[in-house]
C-alpha cells in the first residue's frame, strides 16, 4: 500500500543522506521524496511516498525515522484530510496542427503552457499524483520528449474531521 509520510528535520549537513540511507539500509521501498525549507528556521520538511506490504513495515519505517537524531517529527498522514500536490513539467511534441488539440486537453486539467517552440510545448501541471498520471497518459500519444516530476509534497489541512485523529505510532 502507498503511504505518505512527512518529516520535520533539523537542517543539518547530511540529513537527506541519513534518510535515504535508512531507506536503502532497511530495504524500504520509496516512490518519491521531496525536500525543502519549512516555516521554521533551521528546519526542513521532507515528504516521502513509500510502498509497504503491511502495517508492521510501516510502523518500523516510522520508528526508524524517528530514531534519527536529526528527525524531529514523523507523521503518516495518508488517512488524514490532507493537501497533497506534485508538479510536473512535460515537453510534448507539437506543431501547428496539434497545438490546438493539446490546448483543449490542458484546460480541464488546469495545466498551463509555459514554453512554446516550433515543434514542442512545455506544459506545467500541479495536482495530486493521480491527476498528473492521468494527464501524462492522455498526452502520451502526442509524444513526450521530456518529463520531470517533483514527487508529492503534502501536509494536513487546517481542519480535520474528528474521526480522523492521527494514528499514533508512538508506543511510549
Amino acid at each position: 500500500m502507498k503511504r505518505i509520510i512527512t518529516l520535520t528535520v533539523m537542517n543539518r549537513p547530511g540529513v537527506l543522506n541519513r534518510i535515504t540511507n535508512l531507506f536503502s539500509k532497511r530495504n524500504y521501498n520509496i516512490e518519491s521524496i521531496s525536500v525543502g525549507y519549512s516555516e521554521q528556521e533551521g528546519m526542513s520538511r521532507i515528504t516521502c511516498v513509500v510502498h509497504v506490504d503491511n502495517d508492521g513495515v510501516l510502523e518500523q519505517i516510522t520508528k526508524q525515522l524517528n530514531k534519527q537524531i536529526d528527525v524531529i517529527k514523523v507523521m503518516d498522514i495518508t488517512e488524514q484530510s490532507i493537501v497533497a500536490r506534485e508538479l510536473a513539467l512535460i515537453k510534448v511534441v507539437s506543431n501547428s496542427s496539434t497545438r490546438n488539440e493539446i490546448y483543449s486537453l490542458i484546460q480541464p486539467f488546469r495545466a498551463s503552457v509555459i514554453d512554446v517552440s516550433k515543434d514542442s510545448l512545455v506544459i506545467q501541471l500541479t495536482g495530486e499524483s493521480d491527476k498528473v498520471e492521468a494527464f501524462i497518459e492522455l498526452i502520451k500519444p502526442y509524444g513526450i520528449k521530456e518529463l520531470a516530476r517533483t514527487g508529492t509534497t503534502a501536509f494536513l489541512r487546517g481542519t480535520q474531521k474528528p474521526s480522523q485523529a492521527i494514528k499514533p505510532y508512538s508506543i511510549v
Binding site: 543522506n17 540511507n21 510502523e59 520508528k63 530514531k67 537524531i69 524531529i72 508506543i171 511510549v172
Partner: protein
C-alpha cells in the same frame, strides 16, 4: 600540567587556541583516561598537542586493533572508548569496529582526520568520504566545519554515545580545523530536540506487565545487554527473586544475572542450553528486558515462544515489535523499569510447577561432551573456570571457542564478558582484551581465540608487550575455522571448502618474537601444570592449546528451525 596551565592562561587572556587543543580540552572535560589512536598526516595537529597531554595514549599496530581495544574498554567500564584515526585508510580501517559497536550498542567516540576543508571533494591524498561511509554504522556522525564548534560537538558526541541506546559516534575533523586557531568559544548547552530517549516507563504498561506476571503459569525473563548498559543487575536479581521468575540470558547479556543462581535457566539461542531454549518455547509470558530478539537467539520466528504473551522492555522503541509481535511494550531504561516493577503490588506468584520443570530439565539436559584421549575444548573451559575461580574477565573472538566459553564459563558478576555478538567479528578478541585489561588492571583477563581469528589481529601482541599487560592469551587451536568446518560438516556434506589450514605458524615462536612467553599444550596434564603456573602471574602469556579438531558445538538449533528442534541435547 604544562598544557593545563598554558590553556588556562590562554583562556584568561582570550588568546586564540587551536582546534586540536579545544578537542583535547573537551576530552579532559569528559574525563577521558585513555585514547586508542594511530597518527597520520591529517591528524598531525592533534598528535602534536597530544605530545604534551597527560591522557594515556595506546598505539595499536593497526587501526582495527585500536577500535576493538576501545570496544573492550567500553564493555568493561561502561564508559565510551575513544579512538583517533587519520583520514582515508586510517578511517576506513576502523569501519569494522564501528559496525561491531553499532550492532552491540557499545558507546564509542571516534575522531577521524580529514583533508583540509579547501580540498574536500577533490579526491585529495588520503581523502575518503567517511561521513558517507559511516552514516549507516554510527549512531551519529559529525564533520567539524568551524573551530568554535569543537567543544559543543565533542560534548554532544559523548552525550549521544552514552545515553539512550548507546552506540558509536564519529567526529571528522579536517586538518585545517585542527590546526587553525579561534577564540575560546562560550560554553554551549546541548540542544537535540530530535533526540530525547525515554528513560521512565509508562505506568500503565508497568501495571499491565505486573498483572500479566501474576496471571502467568510459565513466565520467563529474557535478559539482554540492556541490563548491563543500565547497570540494572541488582534490580534484575531482586525482581526475579521477588516474583520467582526464571531468567535466561542472551549471549551478550551474560553476567547480568548470576549463573549459579537457582533461578538462572542458562544461555538461550543457537548454541544455548536445552533448558533456556525450551523455557522460551514453552513459556506463557516472555519478559524481554534489554534484548533485541536477534535471529541467533530466536531461531525460526514462526516457532518462537508460540504460546507466550510477549512483554518487551527496551530503551529503543524501534526494537519493540521489529522481529517479534509484542503485547506489552515498555519503552524505558531497563533499570528504571525494573525499579518500577519491584515497587508494584502484585499477587504472589503461583508457578512452582514451572520452576520444577525447569529444574528437572537442567538436571536432565546439561551441556555435555564425550571424553576421550584427545583434549576437549570444553574441558579446557571448565579448567579455566576453576583455575580463575570464575573471577576472570573473559574476552573472546568469534566462532566455536566463543560458544564453548559462553557455555562453560559461569559468570557471577556483570561486565566480565567481552564478545562480539551482533556482527560476529573475527579478530575482535585479542585487541579487545587490551582494552579490557587497561579498564581493569587488577583482573585476570583471558583472551580466548581460535587459531583463525587470532591471526586476524596478531600484530596487537606488540601492544600487549609494550604496555606490559598480563593478558592470558588462549588459542584453542584446531587448525581450522572451526565453526565454518562444523557447518560444512553438517550442512554441506563434509565438503570442507577452505576451512582447514594446511600451514600454521608456530604460535609459541610467534609469541617469543613479540617478547611474550608461549607454551604448547597438547593434553590435560600439561594444561593442568601450565595453567597453575601462568594464569595468576603478572606476565602476558600465550597458550597454544591443541584441541580435538573434530569437536563440534552442541546443542544446536539449525538455521530455520525452532527452539524445540534443538539437536545434540543428550549424549
Amino acid at each position: 600540567m604544562l598544557q593545563e596551565t598554558a590553556f588556562t592562561k590562554m583562556k584568561a587572556e582570550n588568546e586564540p587556541i587551536s582546534g586540536a587543543e579545544l578537542m583535547l580540552e573537551a576530552l579532559k572535560k569528559e574525563q577521558v583516561e585513555v585514547i586508542f589512536g594511530y597518527p597520520g598526516g591529517a591528524v598531525l595537529p592533534i598528535y602534536d598537542k597530544l605530545y604534551d597531554s597527560k591522557i594515556l595514549h595506546i598505539l595499536p599496530r593497526h587501526e582495527q586493533g585500536g577500535i576493538h581495544a576501545a570496544e573492550g574498554y567500553s564493555r568493561v567500564t561502561g564508559k565510551p572508548g575513544v579512538v583517533i584515526a587519520t583520514s582515508g585508510p586510517g578511517a576506513t580501517n576502523i569501519i569494522t569496529g564501528l559496525a561491531d559497536a553499532m550492532m552491540d550498542s557499545l558507546p564509542l567516540v571516534v575522531f577521524t582526520g580529514q583533508v583540509a576543508t579547501g580540498v574536500i571533494g577533490t579526491d585529495a591524498f588520503q581523502e575518503a568520504d567517511i561521513l558517507g561511509i559511516t552514516t549507516p554504522i554510527t549512531k551519529y556522525n559529525y564533520q567539524v566545519r568551524s573551530i568554535e564548534d569543537i567543544p559543543r560537538i565533542v560534548k554532544e558526541a559523548f552525550y549521544v554515545a552514552t545515553s539512550g541506546r548507546p552506540g558509536p559516534v564519529l567526529i571528522d575533523i579536517p586538518k585545517d580545523i585542527a590546526a587553525g586557531t579561534a577564540n575560546v568559544p562560550e560554553e554551549q548547552e546541548i540542544v537535540l530536540p530530535g533526540y530525547q530517549p525515554t528513560v521512565q516507563p509508562n505506568y500503565l504498561q508497568i501495571r499491565k506487565l505486573t498483572e500479566a506476571v501474576s496471571r502467568a503459569k510459565k513466565p520467563v525473563i529474557l535478559a539482554g545487554a540492556g541490563i548491563l548498559f543500565s547497570e540494572g543487575y541488582e534490580e534484575l536479581k531482586q525482581y526475579a527473586e521477588q516474583q520467582s521468575l526464571p531468567v535466561v540470558h542472551t549471549l551478550l547479556g551474560l553476567g547480568g544475572f548470576p549463573a549459579e543462581h537457582p533461578l538462572f535457566a542458562g544461555l538461550a539461542g543457537m548454541h544455548g542450553c536445552y533448558t533456556a531454549n525450551m523455557a522460551l518455547y514453552e513459556c506463557d509470558l516472555l519478559i524481554n528486558i534489554g534484548a533485541r530478539f536477534d535471529d541467533r537467539l530466536t531461531g525460526n520466528l514462526q516457532h518462537f515462544a508460540p504460546n507466550a504473551t510477549v512483554a518487551h522492555i527496551d530503551i529503543d522503541p524501534a526494537e519493540i515489535g521489529k522481529n517479534v509481535q509484542t503485547h506489552i511494550p515498555v519503552v524505558a531504561d531497563a533499570k528504571e523499569a525494573l525499579k518500577q516493577l519491584i515497587s508494584q503490588e502484585g499477587k504472589p506468584p503461583v508457578h512452582q510447577e514451572w520452576l520444577d520443570t525447569l529444574n528437572a530439565w537442567k538436571k536432565e539436559y546439561p551441556y555435555f561432551y564425550k571424553e576421550d584421549d584427545r583434549l576437549k575444548p570444553q574441558k579446557v573451559m571448565e579448567m579455566l573456570y576453576e583455575k580463575t575461580k570464575g573471577e576472570a574477565i573473559v574476552v573472546t573472538d568469534v566462532g566455536q571457542h566463543q560458544m564453548w566459553a559462553a557455555q562453560y564459563y559461569k559468570f557471577s558478576k556483570a561486565n566480565r564478558w567481552v564478545t562480539s555478538g551482533g556482527l560476529g567479528t573475527m579478530g575482535f578478541g585479542l585487541p579487545a582484551s587490551i582494552g579490557a585489561q587497561l579498564a581493569s588492571p587488577e583482573s585476570i583477563v583471558l583472551s580466548i581465540s581460535g587459531d583463525g581469528g587470532f591471526q586476524m589481529c596478531t600484530q596487537e601482541l606488540a601492544v600487549i608487550r609494550e604496555q606490559n599487560l598480563p593478558i592470558k592469551i588462549i588459542i584453542l587451536n584446531n587448525s581450522s575455522l572451526g565453526m565454518v568446518r562444523q557447518w560444512q560438516e553438517i550442512f554441506y556434506e563434509s565438503r570442507f571448502s577452505h576451512s582447514k589450514f594446511s600451514s600454521q605458524p608456530d604460535f609459541v615462536k610467534l609469541a617469543d618474537a613479540f617478547g611474550i612467553k608461549g607454551y604448547l599444550i597438547e593434553d590435560e596434564a600439561q594444561a593442568e601444570t601450565i595453567f597453575n603456573e601462568v594464569l595468576t602471574n603478572n606476565e602476558p602469556v600465550l597458550l597454544d592449546i591443541r584441541i580435538d579438531p573434530d569437536e563440534n558445538v552442541y546443542p544446536m538449533i539449525a538455521p530455520g528451525k525452532g527452539h524445540h528442534e534443538m539437536v545434540g541435547v543428550k549424549p
